[in-house]
Symmetry: C2
Subunit: 411 residues, 2 copies
């Protein structure tokens, strides 16, 4: 069974919006055992939408369409679907009532453009949208399924979860593919490939596959095979984890902040952070995890020098003689925030994110990461690249990884 996605929206092609919907849907389909083969991103143009619908329905069994269902005039998906399926719009009174209620709950009057969202294709099954006023539409013809959904991410996600995935699963059953992911941090793709060459040769000969998925600072490795070889996949993923040792931070899709959060919760330990160059990103990674208030006490973003000394107690003389980017400042920041918050363990970052501020000794991308716990304090120096946002992200990741290693090895 083959699925394709059509993402509609000028904003996607102009790069004003990143197509996160396609990734979310790809993952959800994969988990439902449905294989996503292609994503086509096109403009809000009638001819373009019609030709994409034609192409995709020729190749695929299921075509999921997002975007172009808003109440404004640049949204033409609904009318175009009517042409494609040779049907017409009829007013749906249930939907009209739901739209009116949606606005009345928010205390805003309903506009004619909102009421027109109750005009829906006669041939489609309507998928209710409790998060907005653009309904979903499920078409079925010649044994092909075409589903149209709004492009607003949380509306699409709710509709997929509540309507589309259950119906697809019921109709097509689970697919024939199984995978497990082993996630690593701190070592490059080719070095990993080199160290697992013999193992990789063997699993490929046995009919399994391996994919390398590098992102900033991390490489995820996906071992996969046909569903009948599920046990082999699990066994080889475990073997891979063993071979790679402590660069592995997780089996499965959990991010490092979630993995670390589970470790802290289990050990009933609390964490705080003192951030300079990461500017809040490290805290944000930690607090993005639901329930993080169980172990995260909080932290200080000591961007200006005065916060380092006044709030965290960093020694002014050290900053004067060695600048704020040095081992001692990183250590004192971690110790300072640990003392201030009473946390069991604390992390700190100080460095030069760029694009300006580099020196010969400390070029852009230099970051000291500190850690402090009952067993002592220390800091490590890293040299990342020249891209500000990447430096902020990778430094935050590496800080979490330093804590993970500390919790595993105690050092």
């Amino acid at each position: 069974m083959r699925a394709e996605i059509i993402s509609i929206g000028d904003e996607l092609l102009l790069g004003q919006t990143v197509n996160t919907n396609a990734a979310w849907m790809g993952r959800a389909l994969h988990e439902a055992g449905i294989s996503l083969q292609q994503v086509i991103t096109i403009t809000d143009n009638r001819e373009h939408i019609l030709s994409a619908l034609k192409e995709c329905t020729e190749r695929a069994d299921v075509v999921l369409v997002t975007g172009g269902l808003g109440p404004t005039r640049d949204d033409i998906t609904k009318e175009t679907l009517c042409s494609f399926f040779n049907t017409k719009l009829v007013r749906n009174e249930d939907v009209l009532a739901a739209i009116r209620e949606y606005f009345s709950e928010k205390g805003i009057p309903v506009l004619p453009a909102n009421e027109e969202q109750a005009d829906l294709p006669e041939k489609a099954d309507i998928l209710h949208n409790p998060r907005g006023t653009a309904m979903g539409m499920w078409f079925e013809e010649y044994n092909k399924v075409v589903v149209s959904m709004p492009g607003v991410p949380h509306e699409m996600e709710g509709m997929m979860r509540e309507h589309v995935l259950p119906r697809l699963r019921k109709r097509f059953g689970n697919g024939g593919f199984y995978y497990e992911v082993v996630q690593t941090i701190g070592v490059g793709e080719s070095r990993i490939a080199h160290s697992i060459k013999d193992w990789e040769d063997r699993i490929r000969a046995e009919g399994l596959s391996l994919a390398y998925l590098p992102t900033s600072g991390m490489v995820r490795l996906r071992v996969s095979g046909p569903i009948e070889m599920k046990d082999n996949v699990s066994r080889e993923a475990a073997r891979l984890e063993e071979i790679l040792g402590d660069i592995v931070f997780a089996r499965g899709d959990k991010g490092i902040a979630e993995v670390l959060g589970a470790m802290l919760r289990e050990r009933k330990m609390t964490l705080s952070v003192a951030e300079s160059c990461t500017g809040g990103y490290l805290s944000e990674m930690i607090t993005a995890i639901p329930g993080s208030s169980d172990y995260f006490l909080g932290g200080v973003v000591s961007y200006h020098r005065s916060l380092k000394s006044d709030v965290l107690g960093v020694d002014d003389a050290v900053i004067d003689s060695e600048t704020a980017v040095c081992e001692k400042v990183a250590v004192q920041m971690a110790e300072g925030v640990r003392k201030l918050t009473g946390a069991d363990v604390a992390l700190s970052t100080t460095g030069i994110a760029g694009p300006d501020g580099g020196t010969a000794e400390n070029p852009v991308g230099t970051v000291w990461i500190g850690i402090s716990s009952a067993s002592g304090s220390r800091a490590e120096r890293f040299t990342f690249g020249r891209n500000r946002l990447r430096n902020i992200r990778v430094a935050s990741l590496y800080a979490l990884n330093m804590l993970r290693k500390h919790m595993v090895t105690g050092s």
Copy 2:
């Protein structure tokens, strides 16, 4: 002139990686006056790559391909391009030397798989990649251009900036399309459409277009037209800004943190923040902007109650009687961090991001945002939705917007 993108990678279809490259390239092409018409995302599969190349080169003048150039065996783009263009791989000695130097600078030995990255298609112009070991390839046949680049974002971006965009601009010149963007915050799409209906009718009749680009908490409006109507587009974008009034925070593509940063810098004012429910995201938005250390002093992420009272001086009795999610706590947090840091102005957030922790009085999504300055302190209550990450993002955006309005109106 028509451009298309082929994004190659199983990880994109499995949803393990979001296709940010396509958005970045779309924006860069648009700025270069090149119209991106379609993005096709496909698996690392030879037949799939060949058929996408065939389709795209039939329709488009320029096809940009990313992904599948790594040193590992799942990367098959280079070999597939050789088949498509009927050419073979030859070892490039200059590239080999560059790869060896790249590794020697990092102090890591070169592996055979890395050296094989110097084997490149005979027919292609090689685009040097100083950020990695996968080179770019520029093919030209039958008046069509096909460029293959690595999928690692910062490598692709560097290659686009340094090689691909200059060559495309030189070859195809600037396109025929002009647009301006007006960005709004805090009001929904249909309400905006209603309030600008007459204006929108008029500009459409005059041959201009309008697109609504909603994202969480914001709606961007893009006014566009043929390049000959550049002045009309500018005039109407200005008129739109006037009609919409203070919900507009920017003309152009600058985000609200950048707009606000420029205002603070101009007035030589400093800012600090005290975050509870936004957990560092507000600081991160501010510090993502290069040069933000000119006006941002830092802040406190007071996740745990003890940091609110001990570090920020929030009155324990208030938390006991009214919980931490109330007007007084938001005001005292903003005042507390302003005093602690000596900033001219301070923001605070306290609320329930979810998914748990909601009560009848304060359901999930309730957030108080506080502001404190020399002219006084106050807080405002907002009710967002049920999605944790969306609540964190929108609350941070609204906090920045509260400061923006304060700086414009002084209230």
